[in-house]
Symmetry: C2
Subunit: 245 residues, 2 copies
């Protein structure tokens, strides 16, 4: 059995997220599986490290798949890049030990959220950032971000469907900084609940606008009452930036 | 009479270029004029510094228009950004002396061409760069570029329709360099003929691929025989970068 590890970039704008859905819906996993299945002559499942939401982008998604067929990693890469649409790119393919599992072995994930905070829109980044004209107070956002660091029950910051699974997660760091004229939020953690990073970013934005006090965040966490979806930052600004194993 | 100067950015992907055409064709000039005409309550013509081709982008197009109405520049900017589509952005509006003319007063124009020279595609830059998998020899491209510098008859590097107008232009500089993982070509000149920058970039690419020798360029210029359209680099890689007055 061969196990291949893929490093993948994608523009998520026109996809319903990473995870394959029924009914032939347009997903990134579905696209890659369909090309790989053509190559291998049989159906294959790929495992992604992170199930990115509809419209979310990836600089570095990691996935793996197993097959009895022998292909050089370079052949797999070339085949995928030849037949995948141009908004999905396979940057690297490597052979890995049989035990490697892209989801179970992921130790930390980093997401980056980009905000364009000018009056005029950014024509080239309009799909890759959130455009906010009202000025953000970055110091307030930094302050708010620190309340998320550590191990918390993130029920209030999720839209997870299952109530059986634990909503406790550890966040290792939240950085808010200005770079390349964008206000950026980088969140690194062991893993995230459904919509969690977007709700977290949306809450930092509210703090930056003065709509909520940073110090109110511990209370929101403790309440376990879901924050309104209106407080969820739009998908286009979010990028899966890195997976650590 | 008030004269307003606009600094404009646009993603040219879905437009038939800058210049307004008949039949309600989708052009950047047409879009801006239609929003301005709404604001002013009467038809208005804007003059652009550079008539970018279909699919070509602008980091810094300059335009001007005149009106008897009195608006603060900030009002003009806010109105345009409110009603223009998100792929056209008005970065700056200023009041200028009556004699300012965006086309006649332009002393130099700079275009930037971006090439992504990797096996895998670049999902986020696919509309803003040309993807070439065959490796380019940048030294050869630099060498080729120098043959264009100076005053030449560029008939061979144009698709200009009129044969009455002069095809002599001065190019001040051609730089070929690697930055942000892209191979980039920056051309600065007094002005350019129709399709000239794309043909020039396409020829540098051919030199980089070893398909032509850099030293063959003076002969091509002298021949005044139009180079094949196949040698024209695709529109998406080209950006109007700067106008000097």
């Amino acid at each position: 059995m061969n196990n291949y590890r893929l490093l993948i970039q994608y523009d998520g704008s026109r996809y319903k997220g990473w995870q394959r859905l029924g009914n032939g819906e347009n997903t990134i996993q579905g696209k890659i599986e369909s090309v790989l299945s053509e190559m291998l002559g049989k159906e294959v499942e790929i495992i992604g490290s992170s199930r990115t939401d509809a419209g979310v982008h990836a600089f570095a998604q990691v996935a793996n798949f197993k097959t009895e067929k022998d292909f050089a990693p370079a052949e797999v890469k070339a085949y995928l890049n030849r037949y995948l649409p141009e908004d999905i790119s396979v940057v690297e393919v490597t052979s890995v030990p049989d035990r490697f599992h892209a989801r179970y072995n992921a130790k930390a994930k980093t997401y980056l959220y980009k905000i364009w905070n000018e009056e005029h829109p950014h024509p080239f980044m309009r799909k890759y950032s959130m455009h906010l004209t009202e000025k953000l107070d970055v110091a307030k956002m930094k302050e708010a971000g620190q309340y998320f660091v550590g191990t918390h029950d993130f029920t209030a910051f999720s839209n997870a469907k299952s109530k059986k699974k634990s909503s406790v997660r550890e966040i290792y760091s939240v950085e808010v900084f200005e770079e390349d004229d964008f206000i950026q939020i980088r969140v690194r953690g062991e893993g995230f609940l459904y919509n969690m990073v977007r709700k977290l970013a949306g809450t930092l934005i509210e703090a930056g606008l003065g709509a909520i006090a940073p110090s109110s965040i511990p209370g929101i966490l403790e309440s376990k009452e879901r924050v309104q979806t209106g407080r969820m930052a739009e998908a286009g600004g979010l990028h899966l930036e890195n997976i650590e194993f």
